[in-house]
């Protein structure tokens, strides 16, 4: 192999490296569906949906994490929180507070037709509720939220 050929090879390798660089846009994440730091102890991922939640160009993954909070003969109680992650950027955009409810709902709708979805949720005020000695007759003060991001 003469000097000319070696020069061509080096130029080719440099070009190949530069070309590869054009396609690397993010660092490898090392996680699959969600970054581990969003999972609180005792909670598991129950459901997720991919929708437009804010003004950014990318869609967002909205994840519902739940944990059991008591089983009764005719209903169950759960602790829930929501996480929003940019689908392409993988940026954690929001981690909600924990609410207590008898449903594990991930209700996302664009009811005001502004092109962005809202999160609708129903939960117990301060997580408080009561039942009778047989675990029936659930009593609580329900709260309703519509959560929208700008």
């Amino acid at each position: 192999m003469n000097y000319k050929q070696i020069l061509y090879l080096v130029l080719f390798l440099l070009l190949a490296k530069a070309s590869q660089g054009q396609f690397i846009t993010t660092e490898p994440t090392g996680w699959d569906r969600f970054p581990p730091e969003v999972q609180k102890p005792g909670f598991g991922l129950h459901k997720s949906l991919r929708v437009q939640m804010d003004d950014s160009a990318e869609l967002e993954d909205v994840l519902l994490f739940t944990a059991d909070n008591g089983h009764y003969p005719y209903f169950d109680i759960f602790k829930c929180y929501y996480v929003i992650i940019g689908y392409y950027s993988k940026e954690i955009k929001h981690v909600s507070d924990i609410t207590v409810s008898d449903q594990r709902e991930l209700l996302l709708e664009d009811r005001n037709n502004d092109g962005k979805y809202e999160l609708y949720r129903r939960y117990m005020k301060d997580g408080q509720f009561s039942v009778d000695k047989n675990g029936n007759n659930l009593k609580t003060k329900w709260q309703f939220d519509r959560v929208e991001w700008k």
């Binding site: 008591g70 089983h71 009764y72 003969p73 005719y74 169950d76 039942v131 047989n134 675990g135």
Partner: protein, 300 residues
């Protein structure tokens, strides 16, 4: 005087006819073992067929070596236990008791503990969690009305959200099930599936399908079965969850659970079932309850 003597003799004879049962309990992290033990005790004693004692192990973290129930003094041992593996001496006691013709009934979470005790795995035939995987034996389930022994790798044990489910009898002529409706609705319970173990000398009595799992994943799984261990007989029921948060025992209030438990206990002791088919037994789409853990007036 004569009447009194006759009455005493009859009472004595009646007492002798009762089977002596021992409930083994005392540790179970995810279950309210005091509540379930009380329910089992009531179910057995109020049937008039059993006299019940309870052996309570030391709590978690204390010396399990001090726990050594006198199995040999009883016709029946009921495992309502989900804790630390017993000492080698206690293990040997139960192995000898069963090998010599003892009777063992295993309820719900008692198929979970002591995975590191091979003979216990043989007695229960199938188990869940506690490190069990393909090394303990196959998954066992029904497909196209055939028993599948599935040796594929994977952990043992799964349960979804508690729910009511249909129980389908497979061994309809077995003494425990004979005469009962062949499909019946069980009240809300914590259904264990993906069970695996040695599965030797085992007869599956009844199955159910976990329809809380995604379509195509839920399969027809054993819910009640018997095992021959040495000269002994074992009856296992996966039903009977009693949670500790909150402390409620609605799954055990199901008439189907109570009746099959009683019949399973009698069969384990004698190999026969003398109990009549009760009129309050559930059927397909119909759940019935014995909230006082005894047969109501309309059962006969």
């Amino acid at each position: 005087m004569l009447l009194t003597l006759l009455s005493l003799a009859c009472t004595s004879l009646w007492a002798q006819q009762k089977h002596k049962a021992l409930i083994v309990t005392g540790q179970d992290g995810a279950h309210w073992w005091k509540g379930s033990t009380d329910a089992i005790e009531k179910i057995l004693e109020q049937s008039g067929l059993f006299e019940v004692d309870v052996a309570v192990s030391p709590p978690f973290g204390q010396d399990i070596a001090t726990f050594r129930p006198a199995f040999g003094n009883y016709n029946l041992v009921i495992a309502n236990y989900g804790g630390t593996t017993w000492s080698k001496a206690a293990q040997k006691d139960l192995e000898e008791y069963m090998a010599n013709g003892g009777a063992l009934v295993v309820i719900h979470s008692a198929i979970v503990p002591m995975a590191d005790w091979p003979e216990y795995n043989k007695m229960t035939a199938l188990g869940a969690w506690d490190g069990r995987d393909e090394s303990v034996g196959p998954y066992v389930y029904f497909k196209n009305d055939r028993i599948v022994y599935d040796y594929s790798p994977g952990p043992a044990g799964h349960h979804g959200l508690q729910h009511p489910f249909d129980v389908t009898h497979k061994a309809v002529e077995h003494p425990i099930l004979k005469g009962l409706p062949t499909v019946w609705s069980h009240f809300k319970d914590e259904l264990y599936t993906y069970l695996r173990g040695p599965a030797q000398h085992m007869e599956i009595l009844a199955t159910t399908v976990d329809d809380t799992r995604p379509q195509g994943i839920g399969r027809e799984e054993p819910i009640m079965w018997t095992v021959n261990y040495g000269k002994g007989r074992v009856f296992v029921t996966v039903m009977g969850h009693v949670g500790n948060d909150p402390e409620l025992r609605y799954s055990m209030e199901c008439t189907g659970f109570q009746v099959t438990l009683l019949r399973g206990c009698e069969w384990a002791v004698t190999g026969k079932v003398t109990q009549a088919v009760p009129k309050d037994f559930p059927s397909k789409g119909v759940q019935t309850f014995r909230k006082e853990f005894k047969a109501p007036f309309h059962a006969k």
